[in-house]
């Protein structure tokens, strides 16, 4: 979709780059491997993963926007304290919102909603990006990172739910006779699935590098 839409101005192009950075190129889960605590703990089902991801996305986008708005005002000496206060504020907001939307979800995610405040992804973005960029790119970049985080969590949560419960988003895939893989809904399952995805990406990247190298060599020999 993004490839087809005509990019009208360099500013729009830059915004698009800011947004896409977190989704693929620097995916917080699979590339930067940040925020592992919720990644391992709440990804027992796809729905939990999506909720956790969206909650984190909201916290990221809102706090990065506010940090960016206030970036000229905040003295360097107290910046980390200020960021943490801002992040904690939005985490509290998200916690209230989830309680109002669904109590079950709030119980399923438990303390991990509150622990978003300690997610190094959020503070990392605030410090590394939002504090140096104007509000619009900062928010786009944070939203992209948050959605990348959501995608990562959902890829882990989906596999764990399919194998551990035979369902995806609560819809039964294999009928009532499905044999659940108990380990998948236990903590080790999170590590197995996370490791398997990283392994697959590593193999993919190694192949791509090899192909690129081969192409480059070919090109060089042709050029010579």
């Amino acid at each position: 979709m993004s490839a087809n839409s005509p990019v009208s101005s360099p500013a729009a192009l830059r915004n698009m780059q800011e947004f896409m950075e977190g989704i693929w190129e620097r995916n917080p889960v699979f590339v930067m491997v940040l925020g592992m605590c919720p990644t391992m703990a709440v990804t027992v089902s796809a729905m939990n993963s999506i909720s956790m991801g969206l909650a984190t996305t909201f916290v990221l986008a809102a706090s990065c926007w506010l940090v960016s708005v206030m970036r000229h005002m905040i003295p360097k000496e107290v910046r980390i304290a200020t960021y943490i206060v801002i992040i904690a504020t939005f985490v509290t907001v998200v916690e209230y919102a989830i309680q109002a939307i669904s109590l079950e979800m709030s119980e399923a995610l438990g303390a991990y909603i509150e622990l978003i405040v300690a997610n190094c992804l959020v503070l990392g973005r605030a410090e590394a990006h939002a504090a140096k960029n104007p509000p619009m790119p900062a928010m786009l970049n944070a939203t992209g990172m948050g959605l990348g985080f959501t995608v990562g969590l959902t890829m882990i949560g989906g596999v764990r739910e399919i194998l551990g419960n035979g369902t995806l988003l609560g819809i039964s895939l294999f009928g009532p006779n499905f044999q659940p893989w108990v380990v998948m809904v236990l903590p080790p399952g999170g590590f197995f699935v996370m490791g398997s995805w990283l392994l697959l990406f590593a193999i993919y990247r190694a192949r791509k590098d090899r192909n690129n190298a081969a192409l480059a060599a070919q090109g060089a020999s042709h050029g010579a």
Binding site: F174, Q179, W181, F192
Partner: protein
């Protein structure tokens, strides 16, 4: 143009013993055990072995072709993993779960560490541990041995569709009017119901209908062959069995009513199989003789402790995995004393740290000052002919 010159590091003269040969002999020695196991449980056991070996070989092949793992299929190590895995799983274990366990055994136990010789844990046990964690119900469901018609009919749970729950083995036995027979392993029976099996049954596993694994006596015989041909170190099984017996005997002596006899400890369950074939895996066990004793004693102790005080009836698997994990540490504290350093009245040096100037080479050298590296400011050029 000229003959190819092969350049490789020492040693240049090798003994006849190679990885392939060792592995092949282990396979040979496993064959009688497998044959007897198939005789006990029929075609379900045979199918399980084929599936487990196939899973291991296919996974190994995939990882070798993608270049993520060293080794080759012809070294028989994956075959051994598959056979051992099949021997530790219950005979009526669904074949698709066996396939999953075999795949995990190679991926998680071996491939991600870099293939043969690099693994930290015994791959077969990694596969079994995964199966234990993923399918706790299926792996605790044993069917009795020596069932009539076992060579013509599969145990129905074996043929469960992939990803589906296996049919209830107890119902199947009821239909065949065999539900009075034992459906649990002797260890589970002792743990949950307090029933002890008699000694001869355990030793031979011949007198039918007892849900035990392969015969301990046969495994000991095959293991003795391996040890005799020096394809396996006799110290490890001896240490494991000795320490398990000693711990079990101590507890039995303290409270005979509560704890079973050491004999039962040794011959029920998979202790013999684990001690002879799994703990002795050359890659994952210590190489130092003293380390082997420590390693074996640790496994024996852990086995008995897990069996008595853990939640599961069988503890050999976790004991060996913990032993594997402790191997590097054990090797470090059990380094042999170098020749000429020990002796009467001299403190023995233990530990694997070597000084930069090892004093055991010679006294003169020990006192010698390491010459400082010289950097030549102006390197003499080759073509100037100034080289002496």
């Amino acid at each position: 143009m000229s003959a190819t010159v092969e350049i490789r590091p020492a040693p240049h003269i090798k003994g006849p013993r190679s990885v392939e040969k060792i592995m092949l002999h282990v396979v040979y020695s496993l064959l009688p055990v497998c044959a007897f196991y198939i005789f006990q449980y029929g075609i379900s056991a045979l199918a399980m072995m084929l599936v487990a070996v196939a899973a291991c070989l296919l996974t190994e092949r995939w990882f070798i072709t993608t270049g993520t793992q060293s080794g080759r299929l012809g070294d028989f190590s994956a075959t051994i993993t598959g056979l051992l895995l099949a021997l530790t799983l219950p005979p009526g274990f669904p074949l698709w779960m066996g396939f999953v366990a075999g795949t995990i055994a190679i991926v998680l136990g071996k491939a991600i560490f870099g293939g043969i010789g690099h693994n930290i844990f015994n791959p077969a046990l990694v596969g079994r541990a995964f199966a234990q964690a993923a399918f706790p119900t299926a792996i605790a469901t044993y069917t009795p041995s020596f069932l009539p018609g076992r060579f013509t009919e599969f145990i129905p749970s074996s043929l469960a569709w992939p990803l589906m729950t296996p049919p209830d083995a107890a119902l199947w036995l009821k239909e065949k009017h065999l539900d009075a027979l034992a459906g649990a392993t002797p260890l589970a029976k002792w743990k949950f119901e307090g029933i002890l099996a008699n000694a001869q049954d355990l030793l031979m596993s011949l007198s039918g209908h007892m849900a035990v694994g392969p015969s301990p006596l046969l495994i000991l015989l095959c293991g003795a062959y391996l040890a005799f041909r020096r394809y396996m170190d006799w110290r490890i099984p001896t240490a494991i069995l000795g320490s398990a017996a000693a711990v079990a005997w101590t507890l039995y002596a303290v409270n005979p009513g509560h704890y079973p006899s050491p004999f039962f400890m040794l011959f029920s369950g998979g202790l013999i199989l684990g001690a002879v074939y799994m703990a002795t895996d050359m890659v994952t066990s210590p190489v130092t003789p003293r380390g082997m004793w420590i390693y074996g004693a640790l496994i024996g102790l852990l086995t008995v402790v897990i069996r008595y005080y853990g939640g599961l009836p069988e503890g050999v698997m976790y004991a060996i995995l913990i032993g594997n994990a402790a191997t590097p540490l054990i090797e470090q504290i059990s380094q042999p004393t170098p020749f000429g350093k020990g002796g009467i009245g001299k403190p023995k040096r233990r530990g694997a740290s070597y000084p930069l100037n090892p004093s055991y080479i010679s006294r003169e050298e020990a006192a010698a000052v390491t010459p400082k590296r010289q950097f030549l400011k102006n390197k003499p050029k080759r073509d100037s002919g100034s080289m002496s």
